[in-house]
Amino acid sequence: MTPRVTRAAPLAALAVALALPLVVPNEYYVQILTQGYVFAISACGLNVILGFAGQLSLAHAGFFGIGAYTVALLATKVGIAFWAGLPAGIALSAVFGFAIGSICLRSKGHYFAIFTLAVGLIIHLVIQKWESLTHGHIGVIGIPGPGAIGPLTFDSGIARSYLALAALVLTLVATSRLLRSPVGRTLMAVRESEPLAAAVGLDVMAAKRMAFTVSAALAGLAGGLYAGFIGFLGPEASNVEVTFNTLLYVMVGGIGSLSGPVAGTFIVYGLSQVLQVLQEYQMVIFGLALVLLILFMPSGLAGAFRRSSPQALKPSSPGRGK
C-alpha cells in the first residue's frame, strides 16, 4: 500500500461506519452492528496476545466474562453506574490477566494453549456455579445501560452503536500505537525468537505478561460494554465457544494485522446472523470455510490484501548489475 492509501483507508472505513447506523433498515440491524463492534474490540484484544506476542490464549472469553459480570453485578447489587462499573471491569480483567498470565506463560506453545483453555473453562464454571453471586443459569437481568454524559444520552440503539464504535476506534488507536512502538517491536522479537530476544537483553516473560494483561483488559472492556448494552447477562457469555468464535474472527481477518480482526469479526459475525436459519448446521459451513482459509489464506484477509498490493510486487532485491 502506498502511504497515501494507508492513511486514507482508516478514514474511509470510519466514514462508512459513521453512516451505517443511519442507513440500515431497522433497529435490529443497528443492534447487530453494535454487537459487531463489541466483538471486534474483543478480537483486537485476542490479537494482542496471539498476533503481536505469538501466544495462543484460549482463556479469552473468561476475561470477557469477568468484565461483563463486574459491570452487571456492580450495577444490580451495589448500584454502581455503568460508567464507574466499566473501568472497574477493565481493571479486574487486567488484574486477573496479570495474575493468570504470570502462571500460564511459564508454559509454551501447545501447553500454553491447553493451560489457558482450562483456565477459561474454570472461569466459566465459577460464573456458572457461584449462584449466590451470579445467579447461575438464570443470569443477571435488568442491567442498567450507560447513563447520559452531559447532553449525550445513550438510550437509543443508534446512540449505543456510536458509543461502541467510539470504543472500537479507541481500541484500534491504542493497539496501533502499541504495535508501532518499541514495545511492539519487543513483542515481535519475542514472537519470532525467544532465545534471540533474551540474548539481546529483552525480558521475554515480562513482555508476554504485558501483552496478556492488555489482551485481558480489552476483553474486559468488550464484556463490560456487552453487559451494559444487552441488559441481560448469562454464563454463556464466557463460554469456550465465545473464545473460539473470537479466534475465528482474528484468523479470518489476519492474525497480527491491526484492522484484520475488525474485518474478520464483521464478516464472520455478519455471516452467522444471515445463516441463523440454518441453526447449528451453520457450523458445517464455518468448519469448511475455516479449513479452506487455513489452506489458501493462512494470513487471513489482511495477508491476502497485502500480497495483492503494489508493494508486494516490487522486486525484493534489486539486481546489482546486469
Binding site: 514495545v183 525468537s193 532465545p195 533474551a198 540474548a199 539481546v200
Partner: protein, 251 residues
C-alpha cells in the same frame, strides 16, 4: 579478568557435555574456543550467556557472580552473543532488527507507547541514531530498509553482529562467525572482528577454520568431549600434543 568460569559443567542425562571447564577471558583480548564436532563448544557458550543453566560451577563477569542470572539480565550487563545458525528477525528490516538490540538501553513502556510520551520520542531518536551508526560499522548502512530475509548470508552475519553490538556490550561471543561463507567473505569478516576488538569490545569466538582462529586470537582454549585439553597462545596450541591427538588421532 572480564569473564571467568570455574569448573563449569553441564550434563544432559548421563552425558557430560561440558565437564569441569576453567576458562578466562582477559579484557581487551580476542579469545578462541576450538575443538572437534560435538566437543561442547556451543553448549559452553550457552552456559556463559545463560541460555542454558549450568549443572555445576560458577561464572563471574566483571568480578561479579552471574551464575544465577537469566539470559536477558546478563545481556544487560554487557555480554552479547550471536548464534551459530544465524538468527535474526527475518521479516523485520535490518534497521528494525538493530533497534530491537538497542531496546535494553531504553525505558519507555506501555504507557509511553499509548500516550506517545516525549520520553518515547527521545529514546526512539537515540535508538535510531545508534542503530544507523552500528549498521555503518558492519557495512550495511545502505541496506537499513531491506528485510533481513532478503539479505545475503554474509550480510545476515554482519547484521547479527550489529544486533549484538548496538547496545555497546563489553564482551561479544561469536558462535562460528565464518560458517557458511566463502574465503573472501571470511577475510572481510575477520577485518570486521578486528575492528570491533580495536573499538574496545572484548571478543570470544568459536571457530572451525584454523587459519581464522590462529590469525585472530590472542589465546585459544581447546575442548574435546566436554573437557578442556589445552589452553594457550596460538603458537602453544599448534605444538600441543594433546591437541594434535584430538584432531589427528593417535600417532
Amino acid at each position: 579478568m572480564l569473564l571467568e568460569a570455574h569448573r563449569l559443567s553441564k550434563s544432559f542425562g548421563g552425558l557430560r557435555a561440558v565437564d569441569e571447564v576453567d576458562f578466562t577471558v582477559a579484557a581487551g583480548s580476542i579469545t578462541g574456543i576450538i575443538g572437534p564436532n560435538g566437543a561442547g563448544k556451543t553448549t559452553f557458550f550457552n552456559l556463559i550467556s545463560r541460555a542454558l543453566p549450568a549443572t555445576s560451577g560458577r561464572i563471574t563477569f566483571d568480578g561479579q557472580d552471574v551464575t544465577g542470572l537469566q539470559a536477558h539480565e546478563i545481556a544487560r550487563r554487557g555480554l552479547a552473543r550471536t548464534f551459530q545458525a544465524t538468527t535474526l528477525f527475518a521479516d523485520a528490516t535490518a534497521l528494525d532488527n538493530v533497534l530491537v538490540g538497542y531496546r535494553q538501553r531504553t525505558k519507555a513502556g506501555l504507557w509511553d507507547a499509548l500516550i506517545r510520551s516525549g520520553r518515547l520520542a527521545r529514546e526512539e531518536r537515540e535508538a535510531e541514531a545508534a542503530a544507523r551508526d552500528t549498521l555503518a560499522v558492519v557495512g550495511l548502512a545502505d541496506l537499513a530498509d531491506r528485510q533481513a530475509r532478503n539479505l545475503t548470508q554474509e550480510q545476515q552475519k554482519r547484521l547479527a553482529m550489529a544486533l549484538a553490538l548496538v547496545a555497546r556490550p563489553r564482551l561479544l561471543l561469536l558462535d562460528e562467525p565464518s560458517a557458511g561463507i566463502n574465503a573472501e567473505q571470511t577475510r572481510g569478516l575477520i577485518a570486521l572482528i578486528e575492528a570491533i576488538a580495536a573499538g574496545g569490545v572484548t571478543v570470544c569466538l568459536i571457530e572451525h577454520q584454523m587459519q581464522v582462529v590462529m590469525h585472530l586470537c590472542d589465546r585459544i582454549m581447546v575442548l574435546d568431549y566436554g573437557k578442556k585439553i589445552a589452553d594457550g597462545t596460538p603458537e602453544e596450541i599448534r605444538q600441543d600434543p594433546a591437541v594434535l591427538e584430538a584432531y589427528l588421532g593417535h600417532k
